[in-house]
């Protein structure tokens, strides 16, 4: 299996784990997780992030900050897959005696922060990147933002700060899935041209097809060498709910897990969309 096929398979496996987890728990942000499956696959399995699941606090690890904390089921799935904790814990997601719930919590090995309120992880990541600069450390700080999160003012405070302070050890990835809870972003508070906005704030902007592992790999691969002084953002155009057709691009599927016949349909559609189907 070549790298691309391997990463596509990983993305599919992660989706499957998230869907199983959320159907069992009857909760969780399924569609928000589905859109970033390829991003997470590439970060954790594509040689982008440097990490050691046996040492979650390894000082030289790359930091990964999930700023869109509602995609916690996807991070938990990838952390379990990477060996941070026993995958059986996913079965107790958001249930009695479970170790974690709907939003991200710092007690989970590899999670780094507690997050569920938007516009926070990004600034925290900038603080971590600044600390690395101060201490002459070489590790990188990666952070995954939601596009609705770009409506928070704090995001733009941090965007200004990071470029002014030349935090080229900071890489943001924007999961541009075009949807919030009620509607598509462009229908109620438009973000476009979002790439031009980030450029105007002094960032090195790379826009890619976010469901393409090869495009994501190309975008993320060279950033560690820091050929530019400014921080980078990879704007990944994705589909909210990608992999499950009837939940994709449908407002109000945010924050919900399919149940009953919907759950069966979701499993079947995901299976049909498997790269190896």
């Amino acid at each position: 299996m070549n790298d691309i096929a391997f990463l596509e398979k990983k993305a599919y496996d992660l989706r499957k784990k998230v869907l199983d987890t959320c159907i069992r728990a009857k909760t969780g942000h399924v569609t928000s997780s589905m859109s970033c499956a390829e991003i997470m696959s590439v970060l954790f399995h594509g040689g982008i992030l440097r990490y050691d699941p046996k040492r979650p606090d390894w000082p030289d690890r790359d930091r990964f900050i999930l700023s869109k904390g509602q995609a916690s089921p996807m991070l938990y799935a990838v952390l379990a897959d990477a060996g941070y904790f026993d995958e059986a814990q996913l079965k107790a997601f958001a249930q009695k005696d479970g170790k974690f719930g709907v939003h991200l919590q710092q007690s989970v090995p590899g999670a780094e922060i507690t997050c569920g309120s938007l516009g926070q992880g990004f600034g925290f990541a900038a603080g971590m990147a600044l600390a690395a600069k101060m201490d002459l450390k070489n590790h990188m700080v990666y952070t995954l933002l939601g596009d609705g999160e770009n409506q928070e003012g704090s995001i733009w405070e941090t965007a200004m700060f990071a470029s002014h302070n030349r935090l080229n050890n900071l890489v943001a990835i924007l999961d541009r899935n075009y949807q919030c809870v009620l509607d598509f972003t462009e229908n109620f508070l438009s973000l476009e041209p979002v790439d031009k906005k980030w450029e105007a704030f002094g960032w090195n902007v790379i826009r890619v097809e976010g469901q393409s592992v090869s495009e994501l790999l190309n975008a993320l691969h060279g950033l560690r060498s820091r050929r530019r002084p400014n921080p980078s953002i990879v704007i990944a155009d994705t589909t909210k709910g990608a992999g499950i057709d009837f939940m994709s691009c449908v407002p109000l599927w945010h924050g919900a897990a399919p149940a009953g016949a919907d759950a069966k349909q979701a499993v079947a559609e995901l299976e049909r969309n498997s790269p190896h189907a």
């Binding site: 516009g119 990004f122 600034g123 925290f124 600044l130 704090s154 200004m160 700060f161």
Partner: protein, 312 residues
């Protein structure tokens, strides 16, 4: 006695001395300076970060730095340091327990002529509601320097509300007891008056006025919340009546905190709270801090008269 300096300069002078030998100590400023910080910025530029007028990002960057082992001090005018980023403070510092020190200048009516946007009358109620954040409310430069030193090793987040005005030093020569969180400045048998910040000085004035009438009023400076509630209640019970005095709205403030401590321990005694009303009103009164206080019925003479009446 040396000329008193401002709490702000006393605080930052101490931090400067510590930061010279400890590179973990960093200041994250929302474009806020001080004469005492000019030296810090000149000598330790790598430890001073101006995040601009962006308090949300300031809290986040400070928290990220703290997570990586720094000892950050986030610094802004107090109402903006506290209220603008409060939900971020809640997540990062209360929920995640990340220890940063939030330094706000402008307790109460410190910014006397700046109007209600700069007055600070709700912060104690708001911040003390959060677990994992300690409130330090300083009454003089000695206390401010002691709090600065403690802040570098405080195990949780810490909010320091500094007065802007230069006030006489009432703690000079004393060892500040952070385990207790309060200091008995004057003992009294008939009643006691617990105050914080600027109001500690007013409490001492009130005690002086009453002394002339033969009334023996004790004065306690409650400078930390949470404090040692058992010790404070024991101290309060040394007299049969209690007054509290704060430059803050009454709901949730200093007096409210003391009522809770008393009630939780089944300690019943008459309590009268002095503060900015319940419900409070914002002030557009100009002409100085005492003029503002008088408009709330809180001149030393007015308070003394109310105490006299209550003790009859």
């Amino acid at each position: 006695m040396p000329n008193p300096i401002s709490q702000r300069d006393s605080f930052w002078n101490k931090i400067y001395e510590i930061a010279k030998n400890d590179r973990r100590v960093v200041i994250v400023s929302a474009d806020m300076g001080a004469p005492s910080l000019d030296r810090f910025r000149r000598d330790l530029p790598g430890q001073f970060i101006n995040v601009g007028i962006a308090e949300q990002n300031g809290i986040l960057v400070a928290s990220g730095l703290a997570r990586e082992g720094k000892r950050p001090f986030f610094y802004a005018i107090a109402p903006f340091a506290v209220f603008r980023p409060i939900e971020l403070t809640r997540v990062n510092n209360a929920i995640m327990k990340i220890p940063i020190t939030i330094v706000g200048v402008g307790a109460g009516f410190s910014y006397e002529d700046s109007g209600p946007t700069h007055h600070l009358l709700e912060d104690i109620a708001v911040v003390r509601a959060f677990p994992n954040i300690t409130v330090h409310s300083t009454s003089d430069a000695t206390l401010a320097a002691a709090v600065a030193e403690q802040s570098c090793q405080w195990p949780t987040a810490n909010y320091v509300r500094l007065d802007r005005q230069v006030l006489p030093d009432v703690h000079v020569g004393q060892t500040v007891d952070f385990k207790a969180g309060f200091a008995v400045l004057r003992s009294g048998k008939q009643a006691q008056l617990v105050a914080t910040g600027y109001m500690v000085h007013k409490a001492l004035k009130v005690a002086d006025l009453l002394k002339a009438d033969g009334i023996d009023l004790g004065v306690i400076d409650l400078f930390q919340l949470p404090c040692d509630g058992d010790a404070l209640v024991k101290q309060i019970q040394a007299a049969p009546k209690l007054f509290t005095l704060e430059e803050h709205f009454l709901p949730g403030g200093l007096g409210s905190a003391i009522l809770e401590m008393l009630a939780d321990r089944g300690a019943a005694l008459p309590v009268h709270r002095f503060g900015m009303g319940n419900p409070g009103t914002y002030s557009y009164v100009y002409g100085g801090r005492e003029a503002i206080h008088a408009s709330y019925g809180l001149s030393p003479e007015q308070i003394a008269a109310d105490v006299r009446k209550a003790l009859k």
